[in-house]
């Protein structure tokens, strides 16, 4: 599934020509809005789970099986592929960004009641019933789709598991936020999660239908 988030290039045409299913959004909804469209597509086609993967080629697609295996083995609602758990992490992170990410990590670990090393990873598996809830309501801004969704899921008692995921150099494009902007956005995410200004997510019902 390729989601064309209001692009003006030939993304959708070429993706369709290569045999992919394509959702064309007539205007840019942001990463969260595009993901939410994909979640809705998955639900309408009765998929049990979705795997989210960044389009810049940083995550090898063959590691998707690791996420699926882990979800099946643990019954987790959300499986995170961590860029910092791999044997030889090669991702460079500046000191200021590392500091801010450390704060996010601490908040996410506390919310999820398990050690989270990569709260902003864009490589993850989401399964029902969490998938159904995300299809109805999902944040569209930077870090909303990753950190905020993770923290809120943890607080609502959804099971979250993290596994190592290898990371390669970005093959396409560049980061959507500079270091300074990213730090500002990280503080916004912290304010959102601290004061509960985020989207609504029902608490997980343990041992019964959700």
């Amino acid at each position: 599934m390729v989601i064309d988030d209001g692009s003006s290039d030939e993304t959708s045409y070429r993706a369709r020509a290569a045999g992919a299913s394509v959702l064309e959004l007539s205007m840019n909804l942001g990463v969260g809005g595009a993901l939410q469209s994909g979640f809705n597509f998955a639900l309408r086609h009765n998929y049990e789970a979705v795997v989210q993967i960044d389009a810049d080629g940083q995550h090898p697609a063959d590691e998707i099986n690791n996420l699926v295996d882990q979800a099946n083995a643990t019954g987790a609602d959300l499986v995170l592929g961590s860029r910092f758990l791999a044997d030889s992490p090669s991702m460079y992170v500046s000191i200021t960004r590392r500091f801010a990410m450390g704060i996010l990590k601490a908040v996410a670990s506390q919310a999820c009641r398990t050690q989270i090393s990569d709260s902003s990873s864009g490589f993850r598996l989401i399964r029902n019933p969490l998938l159904s809830h995300f299809a109805k309501s999902f944040p569209s801004h930077y870090l909303g789709d990753t950190f905020e969704a993770l923290v809120i899921s943890g607080r609502r008692r959804y099971k979250i598991v993290e596994i190592p995921a290898s990371i390669a150099d970005r093959k396409h494009g560049q980061s959507s936020a500079s270091s300074k902007v990213a730090i500002l956005l990280i503080f916004r995410a912290l304010i959102v999660t601290t004061f509960g200004l985020h989207f609504q997510l029902p608490k997980k019902v343990v041992g019964g239908a959700d």
Partner: protein, 123 residues
Amino acid sequence: MTDRAVFAIEVALVAFAFAIHVVRLSKKRLLSFKYTIGWMSVCLFGIFASPLVFLVTPLAKTLRLTPTALLVAMSTIAVAVILIQLSVSISGNQRKMETLVRENSLLRESLGISMKDKKSEEA
């Protein structure tokens, strides 16, 4: 004619002029019926409440404010309430628009219709 009477007439005239402007905007379809009714209510309140300006001074004295400060405070609160209501309205419309865009893309996908192909055919 006293200063208060002059001030009351001035308030009524401004409210009346504002009402005319609202009606013009509504006729040009720049203002929806809902907001036309809302702003007309504000104008009518201005026109009919203008004789009550004599209450401003005693009320300001009770609150230990100058009449000017009281009027400014009341106006600021009114504007803030209107702005919050408009922000709520805009946020709701934004959510509806995003849902519409998503539903539109899902429908086009299920029907096998592409915007880009259509554009290239037209070109």
